[in-house]
Structures are given as structure tokens and as C-alpha cells.
């Protein structure tokens, strides 16, 4: 077994794979990322700007339905983020600071939306608020339009993005521990004073991180929103839905112009994420400590 011990000096072992293997593997990996991700991103901007800046601007602003879809997305995403923010802080506090019966079940419930197809999630809300749905008749009798309206869009978006913020907060809270909070309480701080002065400042970067991811997903959500929006142009089309409609109408310039905004959003999201990862690595380390 140890036949050629002497033939492999340690410094050679430390060098790792032969240079040509290395070069081949690196080239391959770059190729994979360029073909799968890099070129598609460039393609969006190329197609958006291929007829010049002016054409780009007109296809974005010249169409009232497109403008409306931008406005609608900008008004829905922050509400979904806000709902999940409050929930995320509350749930993370309960999970990171206490042991209670059913904790595992609670955690599983939080992850559930990630496992459910967005289309199925959208269907849930149709079943609840549609005309034949559980609350459909009651809502109709009271003149409330939930389905096809903003409330349903916010609900479905919140459903799909539910785990994002809480999943970031739990490891952060676990990582910095409860000593400061206990000290605050024992020195006579009230619960809310402790929260605003100790807990919130400690989790602020994790909170920001989760909000960025949550927002990106909220603005880009398609399947769930598709099911419940009714898809009436200029009324309840969000940006991704509008992209599909323009695509179906063979308005490629319009579709790509709008898609370029969404792509820009995802690039900004990635940039912020990379920046936060580098600047506050506490967040990365804490993940290893997660149970």
C-alpha cells in the first residue's frame, strides 16, 4: 500500500492538481457560468437597448399599462416585505430565545412556503376568496373585492416570501446570544425598551439582508400572482405579468425593456448581498452555529 511514499514529496502534494487539470476545470466553470447566467443577463440589456436609448425610453414610458404595472409592483412589494418583517422579528424572537413545545413543527411551518409551488400557492387564495370559495360569498355580499385586487396580490406575495426574513434573523439572533438582553432586563428595562435599544440594533444587518432578499422575490414573483390577479392590463398586472403579456403580444421591445428593469433589480440585490456578506461576516459565521 505504501509502495511509492518517497516519490511524492510533500511540497508537491500541497500544490494540488496538475496545472493543466486546474486550467481545464477553471475554464469549464467560467464557461458554465457565462453560458448559463452571464450571457442571458447581457442579452436582456442588449435586446432592451438594441434600438437605441430613445426607443427604450418610449417602450417603457409610452405605454400606460406598462407604467401601471411598475407602479403596482412598487406598491405591493413593500407591503409584503413589511408584513413579513413584523412576522420575521416576532417568530425569530420566539425561536431563538425560547424552547417551547411544538418548536420543530413551528420551524417546519415557516419553511413550508418554499416547498410549495407558487402556482399551488396562488390556487390556495383562489379557493379562499374566489366566488365559490370559503369567504367568496361573504366578501361579495359585503361588496369587498379581494381576489383580482391588491389585497390578494399582497397576500399571495407575502405567502411566497414568508420564510426569507425570519430565516435570516434566527441564526443572527442565536449568534449574538441573550446576555445583553438579560442584562438590560435585570437592570430594569421594560420589554419594549430592551427590544428597541438592544435587540433591534443587534439584528439590523440581518434584518436588512432579509428585507433585500424578500423584496427581490416579492417584485419578481410570477406563478402565485398569475393565478389571482385576473390579468387585466392597466389594472392588476404586476411587472412580471406585464412582461409575459407583452411577450404574447409579440412586443419584444416592450417585454425586454421591462425585463431590463427587473434584471437591474436582481443585479442590485446581488450587489448589496455581496457587500453585506463581506462587511458583516458575522452573518455567515452564524450559519455554521445553527442547529
Amino acid at each position: 500500500m505504501v509502495k511509492d511514499t518517497r516519490t511524492i514529496p510533500i511540497h508537491q502534494i500541497r500544490k494540488g492538481e496538475p496545472a493543466w487539470v486546474k486550467a481545464l476545470l477553471i475554464t469549464g466553470a467560467i464557461g458554465i457560468l457565462v453560458i448559463l447566467i452571464g450571457i442571458p443577463v447581457l442579452h436582456v440589456f442588449y435586446r432592451a437597448f438594441e434600438n437605441g436609448l430613445k426607443a427604450y425610453w418610449t417602450s417603457l414610458t409610452g405605454n400606460r399599462d406598462t407604467l401601471h404595472s411598475i407602479w403596482l409592483t412598487l406598491s405591493i412589494a413593500p407591503r409584503a416585505v413589511l408584513l413579513n418583517l413584523i412576522f420575521g422579528v416576532a417568530a425569530a424572537w420566539a425561536v431563538a430565545r425560547f424552547r417551547f413545545p411544538g418548536r420543530t413543527f413551528f420551524l417546519a411551518l415557516i419553511d413550508l412556503p418554499l416547498a410549495i409551488s407558487p402556482v399551488v400557492a396562488g390556487l390556495f387564495f383562489v379557493l379562499l376568496f374566489g366566488m365559490n370559495g370559503w369567504f367568496g360569498e361573504w366578501l361579495d355580499a359585503h361588496g369587498l373585492q379581494v381576489l383580482f385586487g391588491t389585497p390578494a396580490l399582497v397576500l399571495a406575495t407575502s405567502f411566497v416570501t414568508l420564510p426569507f426574513i425570519v430565516r435570516e434573523l434566527i441564526p443572527v439572533m442565536e449568534a449574538y446570544g441573550d446576555e445583553e438582553e438579560l442584562a438590560g432586563i435585570s437592570l430594569g428595562a421594560s420589554g419594549w425598551q430592551m427590544f428597541w435599544r438592544i435587540t433591534l440594533p443587534n439584528i439590523r444587518w440581518g434584518l436588512l439582508y432579509g428585507m433585500i432578499l424578500c423584496n427581490a422575490r416579492a417584485m419578481g414573483e410570477y406563478g402565485a400572482v398569475y393565478m389571482i390577479s385576473g390579468r387585466i392590463s392597466g389594472l392588476n398586472d404586476t411587472m412580471p405579468l406585464r412582461v409575459e403579456k407583452l411577450f404574447q403580444e409579440y412586443d419584444m421591445a416592450g417585454a425586454f425593456a421591462l425585463a431590463s428593469l427587473l434584471t437591474l433589480l436582481s443585479l442590485v440585490t446581488l450587489g448589496l448581498k455581496t457587500f453585506l456578506d463581506k462587511k458583516y461576516p458575522v452573518h455567515e459565521k452564524s450559519k455554521e452555529g445553527q442547529e
Binding site: 494540488g16 443577463v41 412576522f87 412556503p113 410549495i116 398569475y226 405579468l241 446581488l270
Partner: protein, 273 residues
């Protein structure tokens, strides 16, 4: 001891009560509406919907595409994770952050771009279509866009495991006479394997439910290229609520099974790590 100190902190009932209410309203009630709606169908009706020819072909297309895409992702994802962990080269940081793009990019945009790249006069299509490779409106197109949407999962599960492997392990094996290939197949690969499987399961689960990108790339023809989520939408548009729900329930059970498997796999890989 730990329990005592923890109980000294306030806010359990408020935070747990609030988040449980939120979860019930947003997740539990809608979920039970889905199961109860399915329960309004008799077994026979349920069977007719779930086992109809059109539904079966939609399932088999969904499962096979998601499966192949996840297998391709295992290979590509392992490759990229390996290079990102073990080698230094210019532009590495940029590539590393690009990996996450499919999670941040709206799926509708992914579908739009992929269909535009692989059609006959697209950037890739003009080379591939003459070779007989149809990347848009074909089964290959569906699989390929699912590779895109599921790409980050394998990379991000394998990467930390590769990082943790200490160089001494490899050195020891090499000094004792193992070849590089033996070190890879006998030591490195088995250590990474559970993580690879977890990534595979995550990519597979994501592929099962994917809608936004697929609807652009597929021609969505019943029996041929109609995915299960597309069929749910079609049934709903025909106002066939119960049938749409029955198909959705099957998809739900499949995703829950995947979720359970992922948890078991993660527990397994922790025990090995």
C-alpha cells in the same frame, strides 16, 4: 440552567402568539382549504382527474424534466463549487456572486431570455438549431431553463462542505500512497456526497413547482409539452376548481415528500460531517 435564563426574557407569548396567528391565516387556512376542496371529490372523480391521460403526461413531463435538470445541476454545480473553493483566479469573486443570480432574477425574465436566446435566430439558437438542437419550445428547452433556476442550490450546499475539508486529510492519503484520483473518489467525493444529494433534492423540488420560466420556453401543448403547474392554471381557467385542486394536491404531496427527504439528508450529512 439554559431554560431558566431564557425564561427571564419577556415576550414569548406575544411573539409566538402573533407569529402563530400570522402563519395560520397565511399558510394553514389556505393549505387546509386546498385539502378540503380535494376531499369534496369522490374517489372515482379524484381518480379520473389524477389519472387522466392529460394529467399523467403532465406529471411525467414535470417529474422527468425536474429530475434531469437536477442531475445536470449536480454535475455543473459540483464542478463550479470545486473550482470556486479550491482555485484562485482573477474574477473569482464576481463569478461567485453570479451564482446566486437565478434566485434573484424573476423567473419570467429567465423564461423570456432563454426563449429568445435559443430560438432559430437567437444568439445560441443560430448555432444550435442547424445542429438539430432545439433549445426553445422543446423538452430540452424546459430542462435547460430548469437547470438555470435550480443552479444555485447544488453550488451553495456543496461549497461549505468542500471548504471544511482540511488539506491534511488529502496530504495524509497522498503520503500513504493514494493517487489523486483515489483521493477524489475515496475521500473527497464521499465527504461531499450528502451535500450533493441535498442540493439535488432542493433543485428537484424547485423544478417540480416552477412555472414562470417554463411557460415561456415550452409550447404548452396538452399531452406533449404541458407541465403540471401549467395544467393547473388551464383547469382553473376552465373554472374546474376541484380538478385543479386535485392536481395541485398531488404536486403538494410530492413537494412535502421532497421536503421531508431534504431534512433527513441534512441530518445524515451533519452526522457524517
Amino acid at each position: 440552567m439554559k431554560n431558566n435564563t431564557r425564561n427571564a426574557l419577556p415576550g414569548l407569548s406575544l411573539s409566538l402568539g402573533y407569529s402563530m396567528t400570522y402563519l395560520s391565516l397565511l399558510v394553514l387556512i389556505p393549505l387546509s382549504a386546498c385539502f378540503l376542496k380535494t376531499a369534496t371529490l369522490s374517489w372515482k372523480e379524484m381518480g379520473d382527474v389524477v389519472w387522466s391521460q392529460r394529467t399523467l403526461s403532465a406529471y411525467s413531463l414535470t417529474f422527468s424534466s425536474a429530475f434531469f435538470a437536477a442531475v445536470i445541476n449536480m454535475v455543473l454545480g459540483f464542478w463550479v463549487a470545486w473550482v470556486l473553493v479550491r482555485y484562485e483566479f482573477p474574477g473569482k469573486r464576481l463569478l461567485d456572486s453570479l451564482v446566486d443570480l437565478p434566485l434573484a432574477l424573476p423567473t419570467a425574465v429567465a423564461g423570456l431570455v432563454y426563449s429568445s436566446l435559443y430560438v432559430e435566430n437567437g444568439w445560441f439558437g443560430r448555432f444550435l438549431v442547424p445542429l438539430g438542437i432545439e433549445g426553445a419550445y422543446s423538452k430540452f428547452g424546459i430542462v435547460w431553463v430548469l437547470v438555470f433556476t435550480g443552479f444555485p442550490f447544488v453550488v451553495r450546499t456543496v461549497q461549505p462542505v468542500l471548504e471544511e475539508i482540511e488539506p491534511e486529510v488529502e496530504e495524509a492519503a497522498r503520503i500513504m500512497g493514494a493517487s489523486r484520483w483515489q483521493v477524489f473518489t475515496r475521500i473527497l467525493f464521499p465527504m461531499v456526497f450528502p451535500a450533493l444529494l441535498t442540493g439535488f433534492a432542493q433543485a428537484f423540488a424547485r423544478g417540480l413547482g416552477e412555472y414562470g420560466s417554463v411557460v415561456f420556453v415550452s409550447s404548452n401543448i396538452p399531452f406533449v409539452s404541458e407541465m403540471a403547474p401549467v395544467l393547473i392554471v388551464a383547469r382553473l381557467e376552465e373554472m374546474a376548481y376541484a380538478e385543479a385542486t386535485a392536481i395541485a394536491t398531488v404536486l403538494l404531496i410530492a413537494s412535502f415528500t421532497m421536503l421531508a427527504m431534504i431534512n433527513v439528508l441534512e441530518a445524515w450529512s451533519k452526522r457524517r460531517g
